[in-house]
């Protein structure tokens, strides 16, 4: 599927570390992912899985102190983003790679009208005149379907509802026609009916703009709605990578399987939920072997010795980091 498409963003061996008590610990461990053009890649995981850190690492938005990219490359348009100067990087941010966040209110300046804020991005990155930029801002607000956009252009962020604010953020992100959109839990703070609207809209815009979308979420339901491919993250690494259909029809990693069983569904009865016992190991105490071993029902003695690799599973593009499952399918 994505083989015959160009790769838009290629992450290779990314390792992002945080400083805790004077020592560096990896929060993202040797992560390799690629996003094809016009593809939606969902990164799904629970808190502490490293999914948001991955997005922040791509745009180098990590806190200055106490965090660093320890290894790896992020290839985009023939350049390694981790090697760019801060100045080169800021021309990439918001221009060819844009990002939207969970809480739109904190990402908007409360003292500027939304029109001015969208126009600002356009004048900075594209050097357009103020009048042209405002006209473009209006077009964008209409494009993200803000009702009576002409008058709302001159409203301030606090005059918008949560859902409308997120649309404004999307309009701002689209302002420079980015190649890649990083969306970090963009619908988590929204009500379900609004979430549905925003999800469908993102999908339409992806097609219209020919963007690639990296969609970060903890919600498997949302993943099923929007993703082409899915990377499941656990304790800083990808444990499973598959097309969306393969992941839900044939989940391979015990963590993915368990995650699917913990989610009660609105459309059918769930007999009994099966919680995952235990908790994610803290970054400061990662085990030698498989990070999921202590919670895993398939655990073998060998799981605790060596860190498993991400290897092909049955089906094209399906990969899993679990030797026990791979053994099972072969045998």
């Amino acid at each position: 599927m994505q083989q015959n498409q160009e790769t838009a963003l290629d992450i290779r061996g990314l390792r992002t570390e945080f400083k805790v008590g004077g020592r560096w610990y990896p929060a993202v461990r040797d992560l390799s992912l690629d996003v094809a053009e016009n593809e939606t890649l969902a990164i799904v995981g629970e808190s502490g899985s490293g999914k948001s850190v991955t997005a922040l690492s791509i745009l180098r938005l990590l806190p200055q102190a106490g965090a660093r990219i320890g290894a790896g490359e992020v290839l985009f348009e023939g350049r390694d983003l981790t090697k760019l100067s801060e100045r080169e990087m800021s021309s990439v941010r918001g221009n060819s790679i844009a990002m939207i966040f969970q809480e739109p209110m904190t990402s908007l300046n409360p003292t500027m009208t939304v029109g001015e804020q969208i126009a600002e991005a356009i004048t900075i990155h594209r050097g357009a005149s103020q009048a042209d930029a405002m006209a473009e801002a209006l077009r964008l607000l209409k494009e993200v379907k803000i009702p009576s956009a002409d008058s709302r252009l001159h409203d301030y962020p606090h005059q918008f509802s949560g859902g409308m604010r997120q649309r404004v953020m999307i309009a701002m992100a689209l302002a420079c026609r980015p190649k890649v959109l990083l969306a970090d839990e963009p619908t988590t703070a929204l009500d379900v009916t609004i979430q549905a609207q925003v999800l469908m809209q993102l999908d339409e815009l992806k097609e219209a703009y020919g963007m690639s979308v990296v969609f970060i979420t903890h919600n498997l339901g949302v993943v099923a709605q929007i993703a082409d491919r899915v990377a499941v993250m656990y304790a800083g690494e990808v444990v499973e990578l598959a097309t969306v259909d393969a992941l839900f029809a044939n989940p391979a990693h015990p963590y993915t399987v368990a995650l699917l069983r913990t989610m009660p569904r609105a459309d059918r009865a769930t007999e009994s939920l099966e919680p995952i016992p235990g908790s994610v190991p803290p970054v400061t105490a990662m085990p030698e072997g498989c990070a999921y071993a202590s919670r895993c029902p398939l655990k073998q003695p060998s799981c605790e010795d060596k860190r498993p690799e991400l290897l092909p599973f049955d089906g094209p593009g399906h990969q899993v980091r679990c030797p026990v499952r791979l053994e099972q399918t072969r045998g």
Partner: protein, 336 residues
């Protein structure tokens, strides 16, 4: 009807807030946060209260415990009028009805150890000797699946899920009969959410607790609650057995809510041709059925008259002039 049967009966509950006013503020406005809300929670059962933010579900939850004083209606628990209770009677009621909050980071006093937090209610209510209190606390903490060593620690030493367990243990020490759970798993990761739901299920079965379970997550409500009330802009628009309500919703809003809830199945992608608009402000609700501006079925009286919550099928109630029709469900004409 109001015999001491352990049930919670709520009739025509209403709560209004005023916003604005003041010398230089905007014009004073009456916000009807909760309007004419009635439901019953029989002993040992769970009733879900679902809706989107601002629909008034949390206000209902807090009004029942009089953490917010309701303006009208009656709340009767086990034959006792909650709204009229004063002094010792109110304290006694508060012992029997407890609340679990959404945010595990805000629901525990950061300066008190878990031991202190759990002891305090028993001390205040003078329930038992020091030894009995110690035993009760140990029972409560183990019942929610935490080790006894947890008692000596402070809230910040625990994860969100663990804090939520502590919040539940605190609600349990007084041996309540009814628990009002206000989005108790919304702030948690799914795997932790399942753990907490397990704990609550176990308590319900073991202690025969009743639950009023407030949530925006239809999946969680479907899993935990036998019956459900769907709220929209301060009113109950539909109620009935949870599985029936979600499988064959009568009210178009219930259907919209269900169809918007993402399910982990890529073959069941959202096929909503259009979801119209957003929830209007409660300060300025539309006339007639408050859902009509977003409703594809709106016609005739919807624009002018507020529909009553009428029985449409056995045990199924909906406030709609043009309810959805489903095979097997008797189509009831717009009941005035």
């Amino acid at each position: 009807m109001t015999a001491g049967n352990g049930a919670l009966e709520v009739r025509n509950l209403a709560k209004h807030f005023t916003i604005g006013g003041g010398l230089f503020g905007p014009e004073k406005k009456l916000v009807r946060a909760v309007n004419d809300v009635s439901f019953t929670v029989p002993k040992g059962t769970s009733l879900g209260l679902v809706g989107e933010s601002g629909c008034g579900k949390s206000t209902v939850a807090r009004s029942l415990l009089r953490l917010i004083e309701p303006d009208a209606g009656s709340v009767v628990f086990d034959g006792i009028d909650v709204r009229a209770a004063k002094g010792a009677a109110l304290r006694q009621l508060r012992r029997r009805m407890q609340i679990v909050f959404q945010d595990p980071y805000s629901s525990l006093n950061p300066r008190r150890t878990i031991q202190q937090a759990l002891e305090e209610p028993l001390r205040v209510h003078r329930l038992g000797t020091a030894r009995e209190i110690a035993e009760k606390i140990e029972t409560a903490i183990t019942e929610v699946g935490l080790p006894k060593q947890a008692l000596d620690r402070y809230p910040h030493e625990f994860s969100g899920g663990q804090r939520q367990r502590i919040g539940i243990a605190r609600a349990l020490v007084l041996d309540p009969e009814l628990i009002v759970a206000d989005e108790p798993v919304s702030a948690l990761d799914v795997s932790v959410q399942a753990q907490i739901l397990r704990v609550l299920e176990r308590l319900r079965d073991k202690r025969g607790l009743s639950f009023l379970f407030v949530s925006h997550d239809l999946g969680v409500v479907r899993h935990f609650c036998e019956r459900v009330c769907v709220m929209y802009l301060g009113r109950i628009v539909e109620q009935g057995v949870t599985a029936e309500v979600f499988d064959r919703p009568l009210h178009p809003y219930t259907k919209l809510l269900r169809d918007s809830s993402p399910v982990p199945d890529p073959t069941a992608r959202l096929t909503l041709t259009k979801i119209m608009g957003e929830v209007p402000s409660a300060a300025n609700p539309p006339p007639g059925c408050t859902f009509h501006p977003r409703c594809v079925r709106a016609a005739g009286p919807c624009m002018t008259d507020i529909p009553a919550l009428n029985e449409h099928d056995r045990g199924r109630q909906a406030a709609c002039y043009h309810p959805e029709t489903w095979p097997g469900l008797q189509a009831v004409a717009a009941a005035g």
